[in-house]
């Protein structure tokens, strides 16, 4: 099945196979591959839904995957799914497909929508011109599916060849469309109605922010019972296993299960986020949102799509980084991922609460608010710097605004599941390794944290932070915070440090700034690595450490003047 994006290929696959299809990836790439099986008149057919593309002329990954599939896998038949609402443009791909000399059936999908808008297509004439069967369907309403099945049994026909340069193809498509399409009136009622409001000059942005807030609530509040359940399950398991004697049980319980568990308990959040994001994507709202915020974001070298990821970062950077997937432009995507940890996630809040409560009792909330703001400003400035240096290049994008629609639940579920699974697989291995390391250095050689390698490390690294005047306990807390930022507070309480006596308010502020900015937690690093590779993950760690160090040094320096 080959066709442009947004022509209802997945719905057609669903209709043909009766919902019996699965989603996976093409080998070696993160392009989604949908495959389904149907039995028609006792014959078994396997349908493969190839990525939606506009032509074979550009060098995008989707097009390469499709071309390779057609050449190497030699399918028995191509179903070319065409959007009846916009035949002319869809024909570019159809005409290019004729070059492959594979038996083909042209499927005029969304025919009901087209008829509603006064577009009528002469299928017989089109069939004659192309030399292939042409079937009118409406996959959503399951119309024309039986006729399509009959044509599939006949096996399609090798089309006439229409090879030529893209310019020639465009002319041919124009001429064919003139012959077979009749348009009586064109007005897209529901699109116009919703677009008018969703992209309103004044209300567009508030509506966008409202939807973002809903996504936030859905990801964090609605998923909370599941997160807590998983969290306490892993806690229970960890304590239970660690209660046995021996280092092996201690490692398994306190190291592996506790570490992996603390990350796996994010999974409900991640799944809920993906569900909401998939809903936004499939419903057609996403490209509208991109248009709304592009002006603001492009000033910082990012584009409209970055904003969703950055906003999610306030909750947790892990799902936020996974949300960068919807950004097509590779460089913008890397920049968005790299600056994401500067968005202050919810795990950092306990640290601020502790220090702000102790040092700034009168205006704690202002201090905390300022930290959030500083995070945003630094994220945007870093993005700008990255895009001017390492990730230079103009962001050129063009996106079709698809019609609004109610997503198919099966498709929604599959999309959510595949993405969640990807996270579990990729992040799992890294987290496993890191949790064992953290467990080891906080337990050995002495058995307690004060005499552990971690403590030695804290003391050894303390001179690095002597310009800021932090004691080794505070440095140690930073090291353990690497596992998960909320651990910083736990470590300080385990070590029994009277924070108020070892630092001044401005030092405390610098410390909070440092925890805001310094290297992302293990889970976030794992997510960065899974999404954009090991080299960028290393870069992210060193870059954020550098920024954190410089900023908190400046803060300490400025604080000294008062």
């Amino acid at each position: 099945m080959v066709g442009n994006p947004n022509v209802g290929k997945t719905s057609l696959l669903n209709a043909l196979t009766g919902g019996n299809f699965s989603v996976g990836n093409f080998p070696g790439v993160t392009v989604e591959k949908k495959e389904g099986v149907a039995t028609i008149n006792g014959k078994k057919f396997i349908f493969v839904d190839l990525p939606g593309i506009y032509s074979f002329e550009t060098e995008s990954l989707d097009e390469k995957v499709t071309r390779d599939y057609l050449i190497k896998e030699k399918p028995d038949m191509v179903l070319n799914i065409v959007n009846a609402l916009n035949l002319e443009r869809n024909l570019y791909l159809t005409l290019q497909l004729t070059e492959f000399e594979i038996p083909m059936i042209v499927v005029l999908n969304m025919i009901d929508e087209a008829e509603k808008e006064g577009i009528s297509i002469d299928a017989k004439k089109l069939s004659k011109i192309l030399g292939t069967p042409v079937v009118k369907t409406s996959a959503v309403r399951e119309q024309g599916i039986d006729e399509l099945k009959r044509e599939i049994l006949k096996g399609g026909r090798i089309p006439k060849s229409f090879s030529g340069s893209l310019e020639e193809i465009v002319r041919m498509a124009e001429n064919i469309a003139k012959e077979v399409v009749k348009v009586e009136k064109v007005d897209r009622v529901i699109e116009e109605v919703l677009d008018e409001v969703f992209m309103d000059t004044h209300l567009g942005i508030p509506i966008f922010l409202s939807i973002m807030w809903m996504m936030f609530v859905f990801t964090y509040s609605v998923a909370e019972p599941f997160t807590e359940l998983l969290g306490s399950l892993f806690d229970f398991l960890a304590t239970y296993i660690a209660s046995f004697d021996g280092w092996l049980f201690s490692m398994l319980g306190d190291g592996v299960v506790a570490g992996v568990g603390s990350v796996l308990s994010f999974i409900p959040n991640i799944a809920f986020l993906f569900l909401f994001l998939s809903l936004l994507e499939l419903s057609g709202y996403m490209p509208r949102a991109v248009f709304l915020v592009d002006g603001f974001m492009s000033r910082f070298g990012l584009n409209g799509r970055s904003v969703i990821s950055l906003i999610m970062g306030f909750g947790c950077n892990v799902p936020a980084i996974l949300a960068t997937r919807s950004i097509e432009d590779g460089k913008v995507r890397i920049a968005t991922t790299l600056v994401n940890p500067f968005m202050s996630c919810s795990a950092r809040l306990p640290i601020y609460v502790l220090f702000a409560g102790m040092f700034f009792p009168e205006n704690g909330s202002v201090v905390i608010m300022s930290l959030y703001l500083i995070g945003v400003v630094i994220a945007l400035i870093s993005a700008l710097i990255l895009r001017k240096t390492l990730l230079e290049g103009e962001s050129e994008f063009i996106m079709e605004l698809p019609p609004y629609m109610l997503p198919n639940p099966k498709e929604l579920w599959l999309m959510t599941w595949v993405r969640t699974k990807h996270f579990i697989e990729k992040a799992g291995t890294v987290i496993l390794g890191m949790s064992i390391v953290v467990w080891y250095i906080t337990n050995y050689p002495g058995g307690s944290i004060e005499t552990s390698y971690a403590a030695m490390l804290g003391k050894a690294l303390q001179p690095v932070f002597s310009p800021m005047g932090w004691s080794w306990e505070l440095v140690l807390a930073l090291i353990t915070g690497f596992a998960a930022k909320e651990v910083v507070v736990a470590t300080i309480s385990v070590l029994n440090v009277d924070v108020a006596s070892v630092m001044t308010p401005h030092q405390a502020f610098a410390y909070m700034l440092f925890t805001l900015l310094y290297m992302p937690c293990v889970a976030t690093i794992a997510a960065i690595r899974a999404e954009i590779g090991t080299r960028w993950a290393v870069f992210a760690v060193s870059f954020s450490f550098l920024v954190a160090y410089v900023i908190s040094l400046i803060a300490t320096g400025v604080g000294l003047w008062f």
């Binding site: 529901i190 116009e192 109605v193 919703l194 008018e196 409001v197 969703f198 309103d200 004044h202 209300l203 508030p206 509506i207 922010l209 409202s210 939807i211 807030w213 809903m214 936030f216 609530v217 859905f218 509040s221 609605v222 998923a223 909370e224 019972p225």
Partner: protein, 99 residues
Amino acid sequence: MVLAVVFTVYFLLLTVFEMLSSMNFWIGGGSPMNVFVLGTVTATCLKGLVVKKDSYLVAATLIASSFSILMILTYLATGDFSFGILGVVATPYAIKKLK
């Protein structure tokens, strides 16, 4: 048009209640961002009323009903009440218009 006035007033009331509740005047638990969402719904209704176009009312009720479903889920999950739940009355109108 009568409906537009009714919805505008109704969501204005919900916005005010949510605001009071977020400032802990009455029952706590409201959030400033929920106020923002309800305020946006109200403003959208109001704009529909001013420019005399149904489209704004359709979009406003669509947002309000999605928000109310979400707030019901939140209530079930965490026990936090929001006046956004009462936006559910707009659902029939949104469904009817979008059909």
